[in-house]
């Protein structure tokens, strides 16, 4: 850490093929998911992923405000991805900038691709993602948190939506970039997978990749999503434990 202001490009991959935090190319950062931390919401989740901390809450399906957004045949899915002012190194002015609005849009569309929205015409499903501490990959962490929150809210959908970014560092394809790798790497490719169908519902890319590298990146990302999918399910199982209550005192 601490090389934030460094002008020179750091060595991202050492001679042993290990990354700056000691990970292999196909290794995820540690991920912890907690379902249901916010009792005021219909569903919620908190995700700590490497040094990212992201909270998500879902309200709905509920009456649409403002009313003109109402759709007569299905629920409208509204997403607000927001970064806390102190979540990044240089303080961010409060409020939604263009980047946040774009991310909100692609995340909302990813969820529209899996939620059975036609079951709730003229309603709104509101997805709120708050990035509290950012270290690359916040849209994926936010998507994972929001997806667990949607399940926690009982929203019917095709499947949970695991997400991860794959990138290119020192000419190698690497899973789950952290901040220095994102800043000094050659490419960043966030994606979200529908495990049931094997299809991608969020896909963005920035940087330079060859066709063979892209193929490799997609395979690595899908594999990473499947690992994250298991962690999402485990978080929901823990919240809704069916284990018998101990016979002891109340």
């Amino acid at each position: 850490m601490g090389s934030v202001g460094a002008k020179e490009v750091p060595v991202l991959l050492n001679a042993d093929g290990l990354r700056i935090d000691g990970r292999r190319l196909d290794e995820l950062r540690p991920i912890q998911i907690r379902a249901g931390p916010l009792p005021q919401a219909d569903g919620s989740a908190f995700v700590e992923w490497g040094q990212n901390k992201v909270m998500a809450a879902v309200y709905g399906p509920r009456e649409v405000h403002p009313r003109h957004l109402q759709q007569s045949t299905k629920a409208v899915i509204q997403c607000r991805y927001n970064m806390a002012a102190f979540s990044v190194d240089e303080r961010k002015r409060p409020g939604l900038d263009r980047r946040s609005q774009e991310i909100s849009k692609v995340i909302a569309e990813a969820f529209e691709s899996v939620v059975f929205a036609e079951e709730f015409p003229r309603t709104s499903i509101d997805v709120y993602i708050e990035v509290l501490q950012a270290n690359a990959g916040t849209r994926c962490a936010g998507l994972v948190a929001a997806s667990v929150a949607l399940a926690d809210a009982g929203i019917p959908m095709v499947d949970l939506l695991p997400a991860v970014a794959v990138g290119k560092i020192d000419n190698a394809i690497a899973l789950d970039l952290k901040k220095e790798e994102d800043n000094f790497g050659q490419a960043d490719l966030p994606m979200a997978l529908v495990p049931q169908s094997g299809r991608l519902v969020l896909l963005q890319m920035e940087g330079h990749m060859t066709e063979p590298e892209l193929a490799q990146a997609l395979e690595l990302g899908v594999g990473g999503c499947r690992v994250i999918h298991e962690k999402m399910k485990a978080a929901l199982r823990e919240r809704y434990s069916t284990a018998p209550l101990a016979a002891g005192a109340a």
């Binding site: 005021q40 040094q51 901390k53 806390a84 002012a85 102190f86 990044v88 303080r91 708050e130």
Partner: protein
């Protein structure tokens, strides 16, 4: 517009209980909910604290950046407090520009920090008239179950108490150093429920309340800020009694901040 309407019979029940000195969650009129303080929760901030007050959850983060002093105070640093009541935290909050409620929380918290001289603004000044530290206090409400003012100030003061001035990173000095906190103001908020005045109201109690009164105290026995809110009224004797109670809660919560440093 807010989605949630509180049922009249729930409000009446809250008032009936208060008449007997009881509350919905089993507390007495002068019982504060359990408080946890987690300082240093956000490592991207120069100081931070996550505060849980019952089911109210508030995260405060401090950012310090070099900037220019205001022309009328060339020897003083700049302190800015901003509270965001984000729609994630309550079904009653809507996306959009800051609502009056958020602005009130920001300003009441800011007044207490400023009036208590929590930090010595002159020490933030690097070169008079030219360069000073700008200290941003950003309060992010994550869960709203009432009494956002107390939780927000508690988070803000805890965050300031854990803050480091990033002097090395901004090449202002050779090493970072802890932000010096001179005073620790604490706000205690009360609401009137009939003839009973209870401390630390929940969301439902605020909905039933006939007036809200916030008193900020510091450790030297000063009253440093007050705010009357919501529809309702307090007599001068009510105010004096609330102030006495606010000192007791203030001293207890201040001890928790000191013990909470990570």
């Amino acid at each position: 517009m807010s989605e949630e309407v509180t049922a009249e019979i729930l409000q009446t029940h809250i008032l009936d209980l208060a008449a007997e000195g009881r509350r919905l969650d089993g507390r007495g009129p002068d019982d504060y909910r359990p408080v946890t303080i987690d300082p240093g929760f956000v490592t991207t901030a120069d100081g931070s604290a996550l505060v849980n007050l019952g089911q109210t959850k508030v995260l405060a983060g401090i950012k310090l950046e070099p900037g220019k002093p205001f022309p009328d105070t060339p020897n003083a640093g700049v302190l800015t407090t901003n509270a965001e009541l984000i729609p994630l935290s309550s079904p009653t909050f809507e996306p959009g520009p800051p609502q009056p409620g958020a602005i009130e929380v920001s300003r009441v918290v800011d007044r207490a920090i400023r009036a208590a001289e929590t930090i010595d603004l002159t020490k933030l000044c690097v070169t008079p008239g030219e360069k000073t530290w700008v200290c941003y206090v950003d309060v992010h409400v994550l869960g709203h179950d009432g009494n956002l003012i107390d939780a927000s100030l508690l988070a803000a003061v805890s965050a300031l108490s854990s803050a480091t001035v990033p002097a090395k990173r901004f090449e202002v000095a050779d090493a970072d150093y802890p932000l010096e906190v001179l005073h620790r103001p604490i706000e205690s908020t009360f609401v009137r429920l009939g003839d009973t005045i209870v401390v630390d109201p929940t969301f439902d109690e605020e909905r039933a309340a006939q007036g809200r009164l916030t008193v900020a105290t510091d450790e030297s026995g000063r009253i440093v800020a007050m705010q009357k809110g919501l529809v309702g009224a307090f007599s001068p004797d009510d105010v004096k009694s609330v102030v006495r109670r606010a000192f007791v809660h203030g001293d207890r919560l201040r001890a928790q901040i000191r013990g909470g440093r990570r």
